[in-house]
Amino acid sequence: MIRFEDVSKQYGNGVVALKNVNLTIEQGEFVAIIGLSGAGKSTLIRLVNKMIETTSGKLLVNDVSVDQSLKGKALRKFRRRIGMVFQSFNLIGRTTVLKNVLAAKVADKGFFASLFGYYSKKDYLDSLEALNNVGILDKAYIRADQLSGGQMQRVALSRTLAQNPTIILADEPVASLDPVTANMIMTDFKRINEKFNITVIANMHHVDVALKFVNRIVGIHEGEVVFDGPSNLVTEAILKKIYNRELSDDDIMFKKD
């Protein structure tokens, strides 16, 4: 369970990214966070694994209080169970797909095993299974920079799965993909969410993709949560409130016929 209680975030330059956010996300939920760029979506997601620190308020993730006292070894142990997927995939292009997935296991290793890049047979099996789960097992020994965008995001997703996470944070996972590929990746997310009961929190720029795949929508406008509810309750009026304007073509991924 993830619980935000009056969480605010102000950056060093004075910019207030989030204002008094209250949000409870149960284990196994699939939540999409929508809003304009700069509304605070990325900040919200990064607070969860403490890539960014909260300024005030209380944040509880899996019964761990995410605050100043969480650091060093405890923070790393906490991060082990939280996966992260990025808009630009963040793969190591110059090495194989399998090595990329194995990299998720490095955090469990001791000094010498990390130094020599040693992974156990179980690590290999876990990683291959993760690749199999998103259907790209046949690419295991291909260099990551040889893949298409959709395949790269699938590798990133397997890397996260190899971590055996309870939560996956996805920062604009399909924003740099074409509509067909985006559809497939979102289907992957949905399947993983249901199959493994992993909580998925995804920042989405494209409203229609979010509404199509995700059952709970959180709308953010200028750092404040202005909507939180099931996707079938999202109306034109609510979207106008979140976006503070009519939707433009940029906010829609699938063309209307």
């Binding site: 142990k77 190591i92 990329n100 490095v106 890397r159």
Partner: protein, 292 residues
């Protein structure tokens, strides 16, 4: 009449060149490009001043050092005699070269390996994208450039007082040299890598060392090997002359033969060095091309 027109055209051209290139210096304003729609003023040109300063420095340097070009030409006959010896290498001299030659290659291998390994931690500590603390990487870089300013022959000469003549002095001198060059080239390579994978691995709960090993090493290992091979090429060449200061290798023999004015032997030594350097260079170039 026709000739006059040609003359006029010529002077017009000179005038245009003058107003285009020199006028900005006189008028204290850069070249202006104006149409009805816009006006662009180029920044004030400094090029000509820099050129003038360089020419001035050259003239001063020439006169201060008192280079006597005449001496070169009056002693030209000496040069022909030396070249005459060099182009008739004494092949029977080869057996005496084998041991010093092997020692030269050993010195460069030892120097390259030790220097290249030591360079790795310092290259990482010099990379501003890995070590974000200015107070760490700036002093380390400064220290490295300090060590780099001293020529390898000076190191060899100093080391001879410490470890004595021969193999060891040369190897240590070359490893210091390799260390400074590899660390500089490697940190410049590390600074160009994609840091996003590093962030991704860190988000899995890995330590910075683990993220470094998993996300950075695969990106730079290729250029590291290439840098080391390139340094090996340089070291073979440097090792050949280390002997001039007594630090082992074929240079000792070369110095000796020049001293005895045995230019046929010198020619043979140069021929062999040439062959060795060339083959190692082409081998290393082949390996580096395979890497990319």
């Amino acid at each position: 009449m026709k000739k006059d027109r040609k003359k006029i055209v010529f002077f017009e051209k000179i005038k245009t060149v003058f107003s285009d290139i020199l006028k900005p210096y006189v008028s204290k304003e850069g070249r202006t490009f104006q149409t009805n729609e816009f006006k662009v003023v180029a920044p004030y040109p400094f090029g000509l001043y820099i050129m003038a300063i360089l020419v001035y420095i050259f003239i001063v340097a020439w006169s201060v050092t008192g280079i006597n070009v005449g001496l070169f030409f009056s002693n030209l006959s000496n040069m022909w005699r030396i070249i005459g010896g060099l182009i008739q290498p004494n092949f029977s001299f080869f057996p005496r070269m084998i041991d010093p030659l092997l020692e030269t290659i050993q010195i460069s291998i030892a120097g390259t390996v030790v220097g290249a390994v030591l360079a790795v931690p310092f290259a990482i500590l010099s990379s501003s994208n890995i070590v974000k603390n200015k107070f760490v990487y700036v002093p380390i870089r400064f220290l490295m450039s300090l060590i780099r300013t001293i020529p390898v022959l000076v190191y060899a000469a100093i080391l001879m007082f410490i470890v004595g003549m021969g193999f060891l002095a040369g190897s240590i001198a070359l490893s210091i040299f390799t260390f400074t060059i590899v660390s500089k080239m490697l940190y410049e390579s590390i600074e160009t890598i994609d840091m996003l994978p590093y962030e991704a691995i860190e988000s899995t709960g890995a330590t910075r060392f683990q993220a470094l090993r998993a996300a950075v090493v695969p990106q730079v290992i290729g250029s590291y090997i290439s840098i080391v091979l390139y340094n090996f090429e340089i070291n073979i060449r440097s090792a050949s002359i280390l002997g001039f200061v007594g630090a082992g290798g074929i240079g000792i023999l070369l110095n000796d033969r020049i001293g005895w004015r045995k230019y046929e032997d010198v020619g043979m030594i140069l021929l062999v060095i040439f062959a060795v350097v060339l083959s190692i260079e082409s081998l290393s170039r082949y390996l580096r091309r395979r890497l990319n």
